[in-house]
């Protein structure tokens, strides 16, 4: 690592951890183009912030924080023109061996419901799906643990309402 330039080390670590960004893009965008755009924007923001990354936390932990903040900020800036989501075009995956029509339909509805949440709520759901505990959620999003719990409960309620109107 020592002989490597900062840029090279950044590119390598990003390459290994790129699924974090892909996953965030999946929650925040619909369609391939938007996915690519957000991926690039997050990459640039990570790169800008990289000199401040001292390595006292894991690259992935740090990347979660910066990437989510970028997604949240960008999502705020763009006026939410996408009301009806073309979810058929969205990439999500059902493995063949466990193909279950009912389950697939339910997942489709679930992803659609998550997409309707606001920027912060999506970030929380993302951390939840990534199986992070509340301590990590609160650290990454910069809110208190209690607040994270309260928010998560509200999100669950909101999702229920969306799913069973």
């Amino acid at each position: 690592m020592k002989n490597m330039s900062l840029e090279q080390s950044f590119v390598q670590q990003l390459k290994t951890n790129q699924n974090i960004i892909h996953k965030i893009c999946r929650l925040y965008t619909n369609g391939e183009d938007a996915h690519k755009d957000l991926f690039q924007e997050i990459t640039i923001q990570l790169w800008k912030a990289f000199p401040k990354f001292r390595g006292d936390s894991k690259f992935s932990t740090w990347a979660y924080r910066v990437a989510l903040n970028t997604a949240i900020t960008l999502y705020r800036k763009s006026t939410r023109t996408v009301k009806t989501v073309d979810y058929e075009n969205h990439q999500y995956f059902i493995s063949n061996e466990e193909y279950n029509y009912e389950e697939e339909e339910q997942l489709k509805l679930l992803y659609r419901a998550v997409y309707q949440l606001n920027d912060i709520e999506k970030a929380l759901v993302f951390m939840y799906l990534e199986d992070k505990d509340y301590r990590e959620i609160s650290e990454t999003l910069g809110i208190s643990e209690v607040n994270a719990r309260v928010k998560m409960n509200r999100i669950k309620g909101k999702l229920k309402k969306i799913l069973n109107p």
Partner: protein, 209 residues
């Protein structure tokens, strides 16, 4: 919530995303510089359009007729064409800079390209300021040599040293004010872009150490 757990299971099972290559990541990092250079190109084109539109509204032909300057106006036209030619060359250079920067992959080359772009823009601004001064001086010369309305002033200058000094003072002041206004204009127009480009350069330099 049962549904969320189902979602979680699906989420963690599926992470087959189209993987981005190292090369693609490098390109993403450098695109920032290329977008600034693209703006330099766009601004320079908008600028030439602006000047052309303004010159369409100020018809100088009448003035030249009045000043019986028609015989010399062909020279002015030649100067005008020359000026447009030079500006077009600059725009071409901006375009070339943009093209090279957006295709550059190595950091070292990118830094060189950024410095080159900065130089090009600086030359462009100096050239434009030079043209401003030149056209002002030419304007004064035409006014004094050919405009009949100014001839009374000429007589006064010939008789009175004070008027001569005052006239020269006013002319210098006019040149100064024009130069200042245009300098400010270019500083605002290109200065911001150049500063951002330079900041990018400094970051690249940090990496290269």
């Amino acid at each position: 919530m049962k549904e969320l757990d189902l979602l979680k299971k699906d989420w963690q099972k599926n992470d087959a995303y189209n993987q981005v290559s190292e090369m693609e990541i490098y390109t993403m990092l450098h695109r920032q510089s290329s977008s600034i250079v693209k703006w330099i190109l766009i601004v320079s084109i908008l600028e030439i359009l602006l000047w052309t539109t303004i010159s369409l509204f100020f018809n100088t032909d009448d003035y030249f007729k009045k000043t019986k300057f028609e015989e010399l106006s062909i020279n002015i036209q030649a100067l005008n064409i020359f000026n447009y030619g030079v500006i077009l060359i600059f725009i071409y250079l901006f375009y070339k800079n943009y093209k090279t920067i957006s295709t550059t992959v190595s950091t070292k080359q990118l830094m060189k390209d950024i410095l080159k772009t900065r130089k090009t823009v600086q030359y462009y601004v100096w050239y434009n300021l030079g043209i401003v001064v030149l056209s002002l001086l030419l304007g004064f010369y035409i006014a004094f040599a050919y405009n009949p309305e100014v001839s009374f002033l000429k007589e006064k200058i010939a008789n009175d040293g004070k008027v001569l000094a005052l006239t020269i003072g006013v002319l210098i002041l006019t040149v100064g004010v024009f130069l200042g206004v245009f300098w400010l204009f270019y500083r605002l127009l290109y200065g911001i872009l150049l500063r951002r480009l330079y900041a990018n350069y400094k970051e690249l330099k940090k990496i290269d150490l």
